[in-house]
Protein backbone atom coordinates (compact mmCIF):
# COMPACT_ATOMS: atom_id res chain seq x y z
CA UNK A 1 0.00 0.00 0.00
CA UNK A 2 1.42 3.39 -0.96
CA UNK A 3 1.94 5.95 1.80
CA UNK A 4 -0.67 8.13 0.14
CA UNK A 5 -3.34 5.45 0.36
CA UNK A 6 -2.45 4.74 3.96
CA UNK A 7 -2.89 8.43 4.70
CA UNK A 8 -6.27 8.26 3.10
CA UNK A 9 -7.36 5.44 5.38
CA UNK A 10 -6.52 7.31 8.54
CA UNK A 11 -9.45 8.81 10.34
CA UNK A 12 -9.63 12.57 10.45
CA UNK A 13 -11.14 13.60 13.76
CA UNK A 14 -11.47 17.18 12.53
CA UNK A 15 -13.63 16.18 9.61
CA UNK A 16 -17.36 16.63 9.73
CA UNK A 17 -18.93 13.19 9.88
CA UNK A 18 -21.56 12.76 7.22
CA UNK A 19 -20.93 15.89 5.20
CA UNK A 20 -19.82 14.01 2.10
CA UNK A 21 -20.34 15.65 -1.30
CA UNK A 22 -22.67 12.86 -2.47
CA UNK A 23 -24.98 13.37 0.53
CA UNK A 24 -24.97 17.15 0.04
CA UNK A 25 -25.81 16.63 -3.64
CA UNK A 26 -28.67 14.24 -2.77
CA UNK A 27 -30.10 16.78 -0.30
CA UNK A 28 -29.77 19.55 -2.92
CA UNK A 29 -31.58 17.58 -5.64
CA UNK A 30 -34.32 16.53 -3.23
CA UNK A 31 -34.61 20.10 -1.93
CA UNK A 32 -35.01 21.54 -5.42
CA UNK A 33 -37.71 18.99 -6.26
CA UNK A 34 -39.50 19.61 -2.95
CA UNK A 35 -39.45 23.39 -3.42
CA UNK A 36 -40.83 23.02 -6.97
CA UNK A 37 -43.62 20.72 -5.74
CA UNK A 38 -44.52 23.25 -3.03
CA UNK A 39 -44.51 26.09 -5.55
CA UNK A 40 -46.77 24.04 -7.82
CA UNK A 41 -49.26 23.53 -4.99
CA UNK A 42 -49.15 27.24 -4.10
CA UNK A 43 -49.87 28.17 -7.72
CA UNK A 44 -52.63 25.62 -8.00
CA UNK A 45 -54.34 26.73 -4.77
CA UNK A 46 -53.29 30.33 -4.08
CA UNK A 47 -54.45 32.00 -0.86
CA UNK A 48 -54.70 35.77 -0.51
CA UNK A 49 -52.76 37.75 2.10
CA UNK A 50 -55.81 38.18 4.35
CA UNK A 51 -57.20 34.67 3.78
CA UNK A 52 -56.44 31.62 5.92
CA UNK A 53 -53.29 29.99 4.42
CA UNK A 54 -54.78 26.53 3.89
CA UNK A 55 -52.35 25.58 1.15
CA UNK A 56 -49.20 26.00 3.27
CA UNK A 57 -50.93 24.28 6.18
CA UNK A 58 -51.81 21.33 3.95
CA UNK A 59 -48.32 21.18 2.43
CA UNK A 60 -46.76 21.03 5.88
CA UNK A 61 -49.27 18.46 7.13
CA UNK A 62 -48.77 16.14 4.15
CA UNK A 63 -44.97 16.53 4.38
CA UNK A 64 -44.95 15.68 8.10
CA UNK A 65 -47.13 12.60 7.52
CA UNK A 66 -44.85 11.36 4.75
CA UNK A 67 -41.78 12.01 6.89
CA UNK A 68 -43.21 9.78 9.62
CA UNK A 69 -43.94 7.05 7.06
CA UNK A 70 -40.52 7.37 5.40
CA UNK A 71 -38.41 7.33 8.55
CA UNK A 72 -40.13 4.32 10.10
CA UNK A 73 -40.19 2.45 6.77
CA UNK A 74 -36.48 3.01 6.21
CA UNK A 75 -35.62 2.03 9.76
CA UNK A 76 -37.79 -1.08 9.96
CA UNK A 77 -38.11 -2.39 6.42
CA UNK A 78 -34.99 -1.16 4.62
CA UNK A 79 -32.23 -0.74 7.20
CA UNK A 80 -29.77 -1.61 4.42
CA UNK A 81 -31.18 0.94 1.96
CA UNK A 82 -28.61 3.00 0.00
CA UNK A 83 -27.29 5.69 2.32
CA UNK A 84 -28.40 8.44 -0.06
CA UNK A 85 -32.13 7.54 0.12
CA UNK A 86 -32.82 9.24 3.45
CA UNK A 87 -30.94 12.48 2.54
CA UNK A 88 -32.63 12.56 -0.88
CA UNK A 89 -36.22 11.86 0.18
CA UNK A 90 -36.24 12.98 3.82
CA UNK A 91 -33.87 15.90 4.39
CA UNK A 92 -34.07 17.00 0.74
CA UNK A 93 -37.49 16.32 -0.78
CA UNK A 94 -39.76 16.48 2.28
CA UNK A 95 -37.55 19.04 4.03
CA UNK A 96 -37.69 21.28 0.96
CA UNK A 97 -41.41 20.63 0.40
CA UNK A 98 -42.45 21.64 3.90
CA UNK A 99 -41.61 25.12 5.07
CA UNK A 100 -41.37 26.74 8.47
CA UNK A 101 -40.53 30.24 7.22
CA UNK A 102 -43.68 30.56 5.07
CA UNK A 103 -45.68 29.48 8.13
CA UNK A 104 -44.16 32.16 10.39
CA UNK A 105 -44.51 34.75 7.64
CA UNK A 106 -48.16 33.86 7.12
CA UNK A 107 -48.75 34.40 10.85
CA UNK A 108 -46.98 37.77 10.72
CA UNK A 109 -48.91 38.88 7.62
CA UNK A 110 -52.26 37.86 9.09
CA UNK A 111 -51.54 40.03 12.15
CA UNK A 112 -50.58 42.84 9.75
CA UNK A 113 -53.81 42.40 7.79
CA UNK A 114 -55.82 42.84 10.97
CA UNK A 115 -56.77 39.15 11.23
CA UNK A 116 -55.45 38.21 14.70
CA UNK A 117 -57.92 35.32 14.92
CA UNK A 118 -56.63 33.77 11.72
CA UNK A 119 -53.03 34.45 12.81
CA UNK A 120 -53.38 32.64 16.13
CA UNK A 121 -55.46 29.93 14.45
CA UNK A 122 -52.77 29.35 11.84
CA UNK A 123 -50.07 29.41 14.53
CA UNK A 124 -51.74 26.74 16.68
CA UNK A 125 -53.48 24.65 14.02
CA UNK A 126 -50.21 24.12 12.13
CA UNK A 127 -48.49 22.84 15.29
CA UNK A 128 -51.35 20.44 16.06
CA UNK A 129 -51.64 19.27 12.44
CA UNK A 130 -47.88 18.74 11.98
CA UNK A 131 -47.51 16.75 15.21
CA UNK A 132 -50.64 14.69 14.53
CA UNK A 133 -49.49 14.01 10.97
CA UNK A 134 -45.97 12.88 11.78
CA UNK A 135 -47.32 10.66 14.57
CA UNK A 136 -50.01 9.21 12.29
CA UNK A 137 -47.43 8.58 9.57
CA UNK A 138 -45.06 6.79 11.92
CA UNK A 139 -47.91 4.77 13.48
CA UNK A 140 -49.37 3.66 10.15
CA UNK A 141 -45.94 2.59 8.92
CA UNK A 142 -45.42 0.64 12.14
CA UNK A 143 -48.85 -0.95 11.79
CA UNK A 144 -48.41 -1.97 8.16
CA UNK A 145 -44.84 -3.17 8.53
CA UNK A 146 -45.55 -4.85 11.84
CA UNK A 147 -48.24 -7.00 10.24
CA UNK A 148 -45.90 -7.73 7.35
CA UNK A 149 -43.29 -8.97 9.75
CA UNK A 150 -45.74 -11.12 11.68
CA UNK A 151 -46.92 -12.78 8.45
CA UNK A 152 -43.35 -13.45 7.43
CA UNK A 153 -42.54 -14.91 10.83
CA UNK A 154 -45.66 -17.10 10.68
CA UNK A 155 -44.74 -18.35 7.22
CA UNK A 156 -41.35 -19.37 8.49
Amino acid sequence: MSPRMRLHHQTHPDHHPGAQPAVVAAVAIGGAAGAVARYGAERLWPTGAAAFPWTVLLINTVGCFLMGVLMVTLKRRFPGAPRLISPLLGTGLLGGFTTFSHYTDNVRQLFGEGRPGYAVGCLLLTIVAALAAVTAGAFSAHAVLGRGYALQDGAR
Binding site: A28, G31, G92, F100, S101, V107, A130
Partner: protein, 124 residues
Protein backbone atom coordinates in the same frame (compact mmCIF):
# COMPACT_ATOMS: atom_id res chain seq x y z
CA UNK B 1 -40.55 28.12 -17.13
CA UNK B 2 -38.13 30.64 -15.62
CA UNK B 3 -40.34 30.81 -12.53
CA UNK B 4 -39.94 27.10 -11.84
CA UNK B 5 -36.19 27.20 -12.45
CA UNK B 6 -35.77 30.08 -10.00
CA UNK B 7 -37.67 28.16 -7.30
CA UNK B 8 -35.63 25.01 -8.06
CA UNK B 9 -32.35 26.97 -7.85
CA UNK B 10 -33.34 28.39 -4.46
CA UNK B 11 -34.28 24.94 -3.18
CA UNK B 12 -31.08 23.48 -4.57
CA UNK B 13 -29.13 25.74 -2.21
CA UNK B 14 -31.53 26.10 0.74
CA UNK B 15 -31.90 22.40 1.58
CA UNK B 16 -28.16 21.56 1.69
CA UNK B 17 -27.48 24.67 3.79
CA UNK B 18 -30.00 23.30 6.32
CA UNK B 19 -28.35 19.87 6.15
CA UNK B 20 -24.85 21.33 6.66
CA UNK B 21 -26.07 23.44 9.60
CA UNK B 22 -27.33 20.21 11.18
CA UNK B 23 -24.08 18.34 10.59
CA UNK B 24 -22.07 21.27 11.88
CA UNK B 25 -24.18 21.69 15.02
CA UNK B 26 -23.96 17.97 15.81
CA UNK B 27 -20.19 18.08 15.32
CA UNK B 28 -19.59 21.18 17.40
CA UNK B 29 -22.14 20.98 20.19
CA UNK B 30 -22.74 17.24 20.84
CA UNK B 31 -26.18 17.91 22.34
CA UNK B 32 -29.54 16.22 21.83
CA UNK B 33 -31.06 19.61 21.03
CA UNK B 34 -31.29 20.00 17.22
CA UNK B 35 -29.56 23.37 17.00
CA UNK B 36 -28.97 22.90 13.27
CA UNK B 37 -32.68 22.63 12.37
CA UNK B 38 -33.40 25.42 14.84
CA UNK B 39 -30.82 27.71 13.19
CA UNK B 40 -32.14 26.91 9.71
CA UNK B 41 -35.76 27.61 10.68
CA UNK B 42 -34.95 30.75 12.67
CA UNK B 43 -32.62 32.12 9.99
CA UNK B 44 -35.14 31.46 7.22
CA UNK B 45 -37.94 33.13 9.23
CA UNK B 46 -35.79 36.23 9.75
CA UNK B 47 -34.71 36.41 6.10
CA UNK B 48 -38.23 35.85 4.77
CA UNK B 49 -39.67 38.54 7.06
CA UNK B 50 -37.04 40.91 5.68
CA UNK B 51 -37.61 39.90 2.04
CA UNK B 52 -41.39 40.20 2.31
CA UNK B 53 -41.02 43.89 3.19
CA UNK B 54 -37.84 44.73 1.27
CA UNK B 55 -38.44 43.20 -2.14
CA UNK B 56 -40.50 45.48 -4.36
CA UNK B 57 -43.09 44.53 -6.93
CA UNK B 58 -42.17 44.29 -10.60
CA UNK B 59 -40.19 41.93 -12.77
CA UNK B 60 -36.95 41.88 -10.77
CA UNK B 61 -38.71 41.81 -7.42
CA UNK B 62 -40.91 38.95 -8.55
CA UNK B 63 -37.88 36.91 -9.61
CA UNK B 64 -36.04 37.64 -6.38
CA UNK B 65 -39.11 36.47 -4.43
CA UNK B 66 -39.22 33.20 -6.35
CA UNK B 67 -35.50 32.53 -5.94
CA UNK B 68 -35.00 33.68 -2.35
CA UNK B 69 -38.41 33.60 -0.63
CA UNK B 70 -40.14 30.61 -2.24
CA UNK B 71 -37.03 28.59 -3.17
CA UNK B 72 -34.25 29.36 -0.70
CA UNK B 73 -36.13 30.31 2.49
CA UNK B 74 -38.81 27.70 1.82
CA UNK B 75 -36.29 24.86 1.49
CA UNK B 76 -33.91 26.16 4.17
CA UNK B 77 -36.75 25.93 6.68
CA UNK B 78 -38.68 22.74 7.37
CA UNK B 79 -41.66 21.39 9.23
CA UNK B 80 -41.15 17.70 8.39
CA UNK B 81 -37.71 17.29 9.98
CA UNK B 82 -38.78 19.56 12.84
CA UNK B 83 -41.89 17.48 13.58
CA UNK B 84 -39.99 14.20 13.29
CA UNK B 85 -37.40 15.45 15.79
CA UNK B 86 -40.27 16.35 18.14
CA UNK B 87 -41.73 12.86 17.68
CA UNK B 88 -38.38 11.24 18.49
CA UNK B 89 -38.17 13.25 21.71
CA UNK B 90 -41.69 12.40 22.84
CA UNK B 91 -41.18 8.72 21.90
CA UNK B 92 -38.11 8.71 24.16
CA UNK B 93 -40.27 10.30 26.88
CA UNK B 94 -38.26 13.50 26.75
CA UNK B 95 -41.43 15.58 26.79
CA UNK B 96 -39.85 18.65 28.40
CA UNK B 97 -37.17 18.73 25.70
CA UNK B 98 -39.84 18.41 23.00
CA UNK B 99 -41.98 21.17 24.52
CA UNK B 100 -38.99 23.46 24.95
CA UNK B 101 -37.80 22.83 21.39
CA UNK B 102 -41.28 23.47 20.00
CA UNK B 103 -41.85 26.65 22.01
CA UNK B 104 -38.39 28.03 21.27
CA UNK B 105 -38.60 27.36 17.52
CA UNK B 106 -42.11 28.77 17.08
CA UNK B 107 -41.46 31.72 19.39
CA UNK B 108 -38.16 32.61 17.78
CA UNK B 109 -39.56 32.02 14.28
CA UNK B 110 -42.53 34.36 14.65
CA UNK B 111 -40.45 36.93 16.57
CA UNK B 112 -37.68 36.91 13.97
CA UNK B 113 -40.21 37.20 11.16
CA UNK B 114 -41.44 40.46 12.71
CA UNK B 115 -37.84 41.55 13.36
CA UNK B 116 -36.83 40.95 9.73
CA UNK B 117 -39.82 42.94 8.48
CA UNK B 118 -39.06 45.77 10.94
CA UNK B 119 -35.43 45.94 9.78
CA UNK B 120 -36.55 46.15 6.15
CA UNK B 121 -39.03 48.94 6.93
CA UNK B 122 -36.44 50.90 8.92
CA UNK B 123 -33.68 50.49 6.37
CA UNK B 124 -35.66 51.24 3.23
Amino acid sequence: MTDWLLVAAGGLVGAPVRYLLGVDAKFRLHTAFPWGTFAANAGAALLLGFLAEAVTDGELGNRLQLLLAVGFCGALSTWSTFSYELLTFTSARRVALAAGYLALTVGAGVGLSFAGAAVARAAL
